[in-house]
């Protein structure tokens, strides 16, 4: 797999480590009423779809940026790569 890094261009997937579903960006609010349940679901439950999947990859052997990669789990085709920072900010995190 080749990951089209937004800053560095095409990079071999071997340079990256994989964390998982990009929903991990949406960390629950620790003060919410259902925090325990929300953290359990956040930590342990996954959609695990067969098809398009947004996921977090870390450019460990490169510029050490986190990316959100939209990839098809049935074909390994990659349709979109964004900086995780941009995605997180657009979702209202790290204001």
């Amino acid at each position: 797999m080749i990951i089209e890094h937004p800053l560095l261009g095409p990079r071999d997937a071997a340079e990256f480590t994989y964390l998982g579903d990009a929903r991990l960006i949406d960390r629950p609010d620790w003060q919410s009423e259902n925090a325990a349940q929300e953290f359990f679901e956040y930590g342990y439950l996954r959609d695990n779809p067969a098809g398009w999947h947004q996921e977090l990859w870390f450019h460990e052997a490169g510029d050490r940026s986190w990316l959100v990669v939209t990839r098809n789990t049935l074909t390994h085709e990659i349709s979109k790569v964004e900086l995780a920072r941009d995605v997180a900010r657009s979702r209202g995190r790290s204001k």
Binding site: G20, L45, R46, D47, N48, P49, H53, E55, R71
Partner: protein, 416 residues
């Protein structure tokens, strides 16, 4: 029809006209007492034990493709019971004991070969961990022996014990571990189940569940609705996809694991050897091919094929410790989809939906578990209580902090 040496001789002398198909090809009935989804090793073993040990009638196994086309026919066939934790070791030892009597039990040659398995040690810390694991195995009635470098050199003279990065400092051996002919496991269980009246229905994909008032009434399939008193799901790598149809999210990610076979060689390798530190393990099949593999690719996948970086990593690991194997040519490679759980251990449990039961999360180690998994799942389906050796494989262990994390990796499926 019972298979025996006498029968083989008789057929040889009478033109092989007396063999019958090993299982029927029945049409689905409108309703069964128990429907098992997935005709892999675990689904077929479940049906077999339901009929044989728990005297159940009216059972069906629904398989979307052909039986044995999933992981049961794609794995590297290693069986062992060398686990550390209390939640695991009694279960895997129960499984190994079932393997030991399996061929007589289901009257089928599954080529169970207890040729032994050796885990290599490279550091003092690793030795401490392996000693502890060996002791845990012995406490649970399994066998384990710690080998010195000299003993390893004597038994496996082709090993590179002096690798600069990973010199071999000993090993943990389980002599009762070994390999089994994987396809024959699926076929043997299928034949045994079929002969006890189980309907094995191939080319029948489950596309949904009919759930009313919190109770599962049956399954929608590509061959119509099939009603069921109880439904057991055993679809391994497809667990996430299937359970999503019951609106369940699982503590599981699907990942691809690759395996490799070399050209056939004269016997060179007497048992199974795992070089965990180098992400490599190998055995030699009875046909002579070196059967080897390493780590999972590490990203979510349903593609049944992996990528080249892992191929390189596996082959590098192999070359470091078995330099002679570099002369062998690679014949085939393939991938299978692993149901990687959040703690690396499986789940055999009821769901919150009445009548719907789940078996999955087997990671890359579910082949060895096949007999016990089938037995324990059948026990749960019939008695509604877990089998004592599978009591820890609960859905709620993640919520309650009762993880069974052999490797201590945490909730990161690609690291287990």
């Amino acid at each position: 029809m019972r298979y025996s040496g006498f029968k083989v001789l008789k057929e040889a002398l009478t033109g092989h006209k007396g063999w019958a198909p090993a299982w029927r090809d029945p049409e689905p009935q409108p309703h069964y007492d128990i429907v098992i989804i997935g005709g892999g090793g675990h689904g077929l073993a479940t049906a077999y034990y339901l009929a044989k040990e728990f005297q159940q009638k009216r059972i069906a196994v629904l398989e979307k493709g052909w039986i044995g086309g999933g992981n049961v026919g794609r794995n590297t066939t290693i069986i062992r019971s060398n686990y550390l934790l209390d939640g695991n070791e009694p279960f895997y030892e129960f499984s190994l004991k079932l393997w030991e009597g399996l061929e007589q039990d289901f009257n089928y040659n599954a080529m169970v070969s207890q040729r032994g398995i050796l885990n290599l040690i490279h550091t003092d810390a690793q030795r401490d961990a392996f000693v502890r694991r060996g002791n845990a195995m012995i406490l649970n009635g399994a066998d384990a022996e710690l080998l010195t470098t000299a003993q390893i050199k004597e038994r496996y003279p082709f090993l590179n014990t002096e690798d600069a990065r990973f010199p071999i400092k000993g090993g943990l051996a389980q002599h009762r571990g070994g390999t089994v002919r994987h396809d024959a496991v699926a076929w043997g269980y299928a034949r045994g189940a079929d002969s006890r009246g189980v309907d094995i229905i191939q080319n029948c994909e489950v596309t949904g569940f009919r759930i009313e008032n919190g109770k599962c009434l049956g399954v929608e399939t590509s061959r119509g609705f099939i009603g069921a008193g109880k439904v057991g799901c055993a679809v391994a790598g497809s667990s996430g996809r299937l359970m999503a149809k019951a609106e369940m999210r699982l503590p599981i990610e699907s990942h691809v694991l690759q395996a490799f076979v070399s050209e056939g060689l004269k016997p060179v390798l007497p048992g199974v050897i795992t070089f965990g530190a180098g992400h490599f393990y190998v055995s030699q099949s009875d046909k002579g091919g070196l059967v080897f593999g390493g780590d999972i690719d590490g990203y979510n996948s349903y593609a049944q094929r992996g990528n080249l970086p892992v191929v390189e990593d596996v082959c590098e690991g192999g070359m470091a410790i078995f330099p002679a194997f570099g002369r062998a040519r690679l014949l085939r490679m393939w991938g299978g989809i692993m149901d990687m759980s959040m703690d690396g251990s499986p789940i055999i449990d009821k769901t919150h939906i009445e009548g719907l039961y789940f078996n999955g999360g087997w990671c890359y180690g579910g082949f060895k578990a096949t007999p016990a998994s089938g037995y324990c799942f059948a026990h749960l389906l019939v008695r509604d209580t877990p089998h004592p050796t599978a009591a820890a494989y609960r859905f709620d262990r993640f919520e309650k902090g009762l993880m069974i994390d052999e490797k201590g990796m945490g909730n990161q499926p690609n690291l287990h």
